[in-house]
């Protein structure tokens, strides 16, 4: 306990030096420092720097429904293949997490070709994504004499959710930060959640309005026969169609299953029309352009609705087949609206609508106030504890205070080095640790005092004090460490920050109290040949 061979001393000094180097950027501007030195201080949580925290969720029924709608288009192609002499006419309806396909034409005997249709659908029903367990993406079964039911098996659903969450993450990033310069963090949480943290002073309402749009861009064939629209307005919607409206078009019936979807769009940008009014230009990718040409060829003289999030933006007439895939939307846009819409269309369609579960905003002003209050409380707290220790233990107290200082440096070094985030409760955690850090010192000092009282020499007392206090110190700190670990694992946000500083603080305080203070004490006694310490 009293021997400090050279390697131990080097290790102690290196640890302390590491703490100083890592903690340095918190107090000094390190931008001019050599490359091997750390430049970043501790990350400040949103509660200390201000910012917006959003927790969002995608719902599985939305994701699956969206996928089924895409599958419906493949089904239509499969059942109406051009090489088939006998196309199977049908209507497809997506209902939550299932899709019903109803055949509409029976053969002479009055039977519907259900088995033939299932066989054809199975050809476009691809293997499960990832393909590890085998199996098909969808389960296609006969549901009646003229109907087929498409359901999504559980493992397929899991893959779809994972895929949807990853896509959503990319889309959210492209919408809120199209240039990739903002310091916005977007992290997935669980299977269906995203957490967005935007520090500084972003406008939470703008963020939410950018994110609350699905960006579901579709092109649907229109039925604008007045009788069908009137019937639909009265509540009788033609099967396979939906009644939508738009600011410039009024109510129109459009086919439920779109011809062109968001994934067919290569990019979008804001442009101007001939009269110099803002418009949105977009270009379809090769697959989209081909489908667009095919659809416009088959549906010449019908109207084509351009729909964004169930609102018809425009519904021009198809005068002739259109090749090339360049499309534009004109309308009553302001420049900003056109830019935002172009960003939303470019970023692509959300696999499912985002639900906002939890929204927390802290202004930068309040963050600054909190930091000031936190620093003030820490400084006063440390001074009080230091004064108390020196009053109680004199010279040993000074050693304890020195190791307390080392402790603070190491905590900040570790927080910076580990990239942990400092929150306001985290500051409270540091102050609490500092209060409790002296406990290990106190346990040892009390033992030293007892040993001196029973007449032992100083060195023997110091040795005995450290030896006897060791198990108590370990037991006591391990229990607190358990609490910190549980808080870190199960806690969220501010609580995690508190747990991180508490846990790091326990480790550094045991090190400083048990190693640094001891080293200082032994060095002092050996150097000055002290015979008695007043404790």
């Amino acid at each position: 306990m009293l021997q400090f061979p050279l390697w131990k001393v080097i290790l102690i000094v290196l640890t302390l030096a590491w703490g100083v180097v890592m903690a340095l950027p918190n107090v000094v501007n390190m931008s001019g420092a050599p490359g091997f030195m750390p430049r970043e201080g501790v990350n400040l949580g949103l509660d200390l720097r201000g910012g917006v925290y959003l927790e969002m969720e995608i719902r599985s029924e939305d994701v699956i429904g969206g996928r089924l709608e895409v599958f419906a288009r493949d089904v239509r192609t499969a059942l109406a293949r051009t090489d088939s002499a006998d196309p199977v006419t049908h209507l497809a309806e997506v209902n939550g997490q299932t899709m019903t396909i109803k055949l509409t034409r029976a053969d002479e005997a009055g039977n519907f070709p259900v088995e033939a249709a299932i066989a054809r659908i199975d050809k476009v029903n691809g293997p499960l994504e990832g393909g590890l367990a085998g199996g098909k993406t969808y389960e296609v079964t006969r549901a009646g004499p003229d109907s087929i039911l498409v359901t999504v098996p559980e493992n397929s659903e899991n893959l779809m959710m994972a895929d949807a969450l990853a896509k959503t993450e990319t889309i959210v990033r492209r919408r809120v930060d199209p240039d990739g310069v903002a310091e916005i963090s977007i992290t997935p949480s669980g299977v269906d959640r995203l957490v967005l943290e935007a520090p500084g002073e972003p406008d939470p309402e703008r963020l939410k309005s950018l994110l609350s749009r699905d960006g579901r861009m579709t092109f649907n064939i229109v039925d604008d026969s007045p009788s069908a629209i009137t019937a639909a307005q009265a509540g009788v919607v033609k099967p396979g169609y939906r009644l939508l409206s738009g600011p410039t078009t009024g109510d129109l019936l459009v086919r439920s299953i779109p011809e062109i979807v968001g994934s067919d769009i290569a990019n979008a940008s804001q442009g101007n029309d001939e009269a110099n009014r803002p418009q949105i230009n977009f270009r379809l990718n090769s697959n989209g352009a081909r489908k667009f040409f095919e659809t416009t060829r088959v549906n010449t003289n019908k109207r084509f609705a351009i729909v964004l999030d169930d609102v018809i933006m425009s519904a021009p007439n198809i005068n002739e087949p259109i090749a090339g895939g360049n499309v534009r939307i004109t309308g009553d846009f302001t420049m900003e609206e056109a830019q935002d819409l172009a960003a939303i269309i470019s970023a692509g369609e959300m696999p499912a609508k985002l639900q906002f579960l939890d929204q927390r905003t802290v202004s930068a002003t309040l963050g600054r106030d909190s930091i000031n209050a936190g620093i003030r409380a820490s400084v006063i707290g440390i001074l009080l504890v230091a004064g108390f220790m020196i009053l109680a233990y004199n010279l040993l107290g000074i050693f304890a205070v020195a190791s307390l200082a080392a402790n603070v440096v190491l905590i900040f070094g570790a927080l910076s080095g580990l990239g942990a985030t400092l929150t306001l409760p985290g500051i409270a955690g540091i102050i609490l640790t500092i209060g409790m850090a002296v406990d290990a010192n106190v346990l040892v000092f009390e033992r030293i005092r007892e040993e001196q009282q029973s007449g032992r020499s100083l060195l023997t007392s110091v040795q005995a004090g450290y030896e006897r206090a060791l198990s108590t110190i370990l037991d006591a700190n391990i229990t607190t460490l358990i609490a910190a670990a549980i808080l870190y694992l199960l806690g969220s946000g501010p609580v995690k920050g508190f747990a991180a500083t508490l846990g790091i603080g326990i480790l550094t305080s045991v090190f400083t109290a048990f190693v640094v203070t001891r080293w200082l004490t032994v060095m002092w006694i050996k150097t000055f040949k002290t015979k008695k310490l007043s404790v």
């Binding site: 002073e201 939470p204 939410k208 906002f356 579960l357 939890d358 929204q359 905003t361 802290v362 202004s363 002003t365 309040l366 106030d369 909190s370 000031n372 209050a373 936190g374 003030r376 409380a377 006063i380 707290g381 009080l384 109680a392 233990y393 004199n394 306001l424 409760p425 500051i427 409270a428 102050i431 609490l432 209060g435 409790m436 002296v438 406990d439 106190v442 346990l443 005092r449 023997t460 005995a464 030896e467 006897r468 198990s471 108590t472 037991d475 006591a476 391990i478 229990t479 607190t480 609490a483 549980i486 808080l487 806690g491 969220s492 946000g493 501010p494 609580v495 508190f498 747990a499 508490l502």
Partner: protein, 330 residues
């Protein structure tokens, strides 16, 4: 210097006071359970859901004008915020559906349940901007909305954390000591947690995520205190094999007393600094911690130790030398 005032040795007969201690604890526990049952806890938005806002107060923005600007009944109070800033604190749940607009009313019931808090928040911000001209970027110091889903999860996770931490700590004590000590420690911890909850209920202090963190820290601290006393009890027990249990425990309590008071003292000093200077966000947390240190120190002496005394110690069970001992010194 301070230690010169403190007597070198104390011989307080703690265990003679244990009936009084037990009585006091029973009274406090009964009162806590009574308050928890009748008043319940004042859950913050973390657990209750809804919105909590802090608005910078100015000449035109005050308690009255804010209350008038919100189109439904909300809980509006003037308060002093961090750095002595005058603020208006607003709390509300969900606005009546009629106020949330046709777009909201068209949603399904499930969607309404999820989006009502968010929609209400937007409605209030809009009214405050229109009627009072506040700037959401700078005057709205804080705006937290927690939906019903997340608040339920946060509550569940908080309680899970509490229970898991308790079980792990007990397992650790069981491993390090005898079962009598483990029971003494559990009882002391349960005592501390229930009485702290009782105080939160009696004073109707806001109970939120940071309070759970504070509770866990109290548990850790109280356990820390208990372990120090137990370590000493075990040591003295081995040293004085003929001494009655009661005297052994008194001896251990007395020899750890100055440590207990010193550590509690420094920790309390640090916490008092947070309580008075750390701003309102940390006030609830530091209050819980201050209270927890007082009750944790008390329970180590009067609950944990007196239960060990009642159950009796049987140190023949664990003969492992847990303390590293005192070799080569003499």
């Amino acid at each position: 210097m301070l230690m010169k005032i403190w007597p070198k040795e104390t011989h307080l007969k703690f265990m003679n006071l244990r009936m009084a201690g037990t009585l006091l604890s029973v009274v406090l526990l009964t009162a806590s359970v009574f308050f928890l049952a009748t008043r319940g806890l004042n859950f913050g938005v973390d657990f209750a859901g809804g919105t909590a806002m802090e608005i910078n107060a100015t000449e035109t923005v005050n308690e009255g004008t804010v209350r008038a600007a919100i189109p439904f009944s909300a809980d509006v109070n003037a308060a002093v915020g961090t750095d002595a800033r005058r603020i208006v604190v607003v709390k509300f749940g969900e606005a009546p559906e009629a106020l949330l607009g046709p777009e909201f009313q068209a949603l399904t019931t499930a969607e309404k349940a999820e989006r009502a808090s968010g929609a209400t928040n937007e409605l209030v911000v809009r009214s405050l901007v229109e009627k009072l001209g506040i700037d959401p970027g700078t005057d709205l110091l804080k705006n937290d909305t927690v939906g019903p889903k997340v608040s339920k999860e946060l509550f569940r996770d908080g309680i899970t954390a509490l229970v898991v931490a308790l079980i792990l700590m007990l397992a650790y004590i069981w491993y390090r000591f005898e079962w009598q000590f483990s029971i003494g420690a559990v009882a002391a911890l349960a005592h501390d947690v229930i009485i702290t909850l009782g105080v939160f209920s009696f004073l109707q202090l806001e109970f939120n995520l940071t309070t759970i963190a504070a509770l866990l820290t109290i548990i850790g601290y109280s356990m820390n205190d208990t372990v120090v006393v137990f370590d000493r009890v075990r040591e003295e027990r081995r040293k004085y094999k003929k001494m009655p249990d009661r005297d052994v425990i008194d001896l251990a309590l007395n020899s750890t007393l100055s440590r207990t008071l010193l550590t509690s003292g420094t920790t309390l000093l640090a916490l008092l600094a947070i309580f008075f200077l750390g701003g309102p966000v940390l006030r609830g947390m530091s209050f819980a911690l201050i209270w927890g240190i007082v009750i944790g120190t008390y329970s180590s002496i009067f609950i944990a130790s007196s239960i060990v005394l009642s159950l009796g110690m049987d140190l023949t069970q664990k003969t492992v030398d847990d303390t590293p001992g005192f070799q080569g010194v003499g």
